[in-house]
């Protein structure tokens, strides 16, 4: 279990450390700057924050001295010639399976660095970053330099190789509402799932397209959306167009994957070859953003459900965490220590994490709760924090 939890918030990076059995905050870093994701690299202790500057462009920030000093990195950039097919907010009669009109192209620039992931222990300098507008970046030198993963960028599901010319296939990647802040409606990669047992095995999740897998270190990619259901589309079982909110796996049983989707909670025990809907709306488990799996037991996961989907607040004013230990066949509702009246919290996609028996989540209303007993009871770490975008144990 980790004794450090790293928060990315609307107003900076906040780290809590457990000292003498009490969780205590350190002074805020990146004060005033929106930090959309922050995490500690377990391999060497480097701290990372993704800065979402309103004016000065997205930047990574890195600390190699446990947060005493930070330095910004501007080297994550789309290469010359990287283009994408422009998308617009769907109209009420939008049909994602209908062929689109004449494609319109735009030059890619990094709008948001949405997610950072770390390679395995046998790849000490490998890092991954997922961005809006939908590029996966890879670093092999500890984050000094970054390269766009072209096989995914040029994937057939996205129009093919637009470096070489115009689209050769239909583009099935649609926009995420999270991109509207940047004046566009384009896709984003918010989940990068590594396999601790196989360094060449990766997944990314794209809003809005679905889950895509590579088994050869990112050289080739294939959609993994069988079994997914979209309530809002003419064909709920379409290959593409899915809206995963977050996808993760079990570290020690990585064939078990979990997905909190716009349309429910989904589970796979066969490396995402097939997904199964395991929502249980009658107990409140259906809509939400974050999901975390236990590191050892692939059938155990936690979610923080919310009222779907036009409201996006705690259900009936009471905040709770739901846990399954049987692959989603049943869910336990965990409320002990969480507010049960007048709670309007929403927990965003990166704002729930687990480390052994510890769980922690933060809400967009600046409340942070931590459990040391797998969610049975909760303590509050703060009620007056900035809106919380990410929570990651160090």
């Amino acid at each position: 279990m980790s004794d450090m939890v790293v928060l990315g918030t609307r107003k900076g990076t906040i780290i809590f450390v457990r000292i003498n059995a009490r969780w205590q905050p350190r002074p805020i870093a990146h004060v005033g700057v929106p930090v959309c994701y922050a995490a500690r690299d377990p391999r060497d202790g480097t701290l990372w924050a993704s800065l979402d500057h309103g004016h000065w462009g997205p930047k990574l920030s890195r600390s190699r001295d446990d947060g005493k000093t930070w330095s910004d990195i501007s080297s994550l950039k789309y290469p010359q010639g990287a283009r994408y097919i422009v998308k617009y907010l769907p109209t009420p009669d939008f049909n994602p399976e209908a062929p689109s009109a004449q494609a319109e192209y735009a030059d890619a620039t990094v709008l948001k660095i949405w997610n950072i992931a770390f390679g395995n222990a046998d790849q000490p300098n490998k890092l991954y970053a997922g961005t809006i507008p939908g590029g996966l970046f890879v670093s092999d030198d500890g984050g000094d330099s970054w390269e766009l993963n072209r096989p995914l960028w040029n994937h057939d599901s996205r129009g093919g190789d637009l470096f070489a010319g115009d689209a050769t296939t239909e583009n099935h990647w649609n926009g995420t509402p999270a991109s509207i802040d940047y004046g566009v409606f384009e896709p984003g990669i918010h989940s990068i799932i590594t396999n601790p047992q196989d360094s060449n095995h990766l997944y990314v999740a794209v809003s809005t397209a679905g889950v895509i897998e590579s088994t050869d270190g990112g050289k080739t990619w294939e959609g993994r959306n069988r079994g997914m259901l979209m309530d809002y589309l003419p064909n709920p079982e379409s290959d593409w167009g899915h809206d995963p909110h977050f996808v993760t796996n079990c570290a020690n049983q990585p064939n078990h994957l979990w997905q909190q989707n716009h349309c429910g909670v989904f589970y796979s025990d066969d490396s995402a070859q097939n997904w199964k809907k395991v929502s249980m709306p009658e107990v409140g488990v259906h809509f939400g953003f974050p999901i975390v799996a236990d590191a050892n037991d692939g059938k155990t996961a936690w979610v923080v459900p919310a009222s779907a989907d036009s409201e996006r607040i705690a259900i009936n004013g009471g905040l709770f965490v739901a846990r399954t230990t049987d692959g989603g066949q049943s869910w336990q509702i965990l409320r002990n220590g969480l507010p049960q009246e007048n709670a309007y919290d929403i927990v965003l996609r990166h704002a729930l994490d687990a480390s052994g028996d510890y769980l922690c989540f933060g809400s967009s209303t600046g409340n942070v709760y931590l459990s040391e007993d797998r969610g049975e009871t909760w303590q509050c770490l703060g009620n007056n924090l900035p809106p919380v975008y990410s929570v990651r144990f160090g």
């Binding site: 309103g54 004016h55 000065w56 462009g57 950039k77 620039t109 990094v110």
Partner: protein, 92 residues
Amino acid sequence: MPSVEMTQHLYRFFPQLKDRVITVPAGSVAEVLQAINEIAPGFTDYVLDERGVLRRHVNLCINNTVVVDKTKLTDRIPEDGTVYIFQALSGG
């Protein structure tokens, strides 16, 4: 030589630009920004995107005039001009 004034927000990232008079050779906006980048390496990454386009929420004026060409940065700064770099209110 033209002088450069900028929002103090940028001093946070480039403290070497604080409390000094910044003068650069006359030229286009692109050339002036490059000259600042030589004093403060990495500066252009904060005001331009990777296509060299002025970021959406950054404003740049030459004397009292907002620059016209935000894409190729061809507007010229006269010998006695002042360049102002500041954040657009749209950036919130």
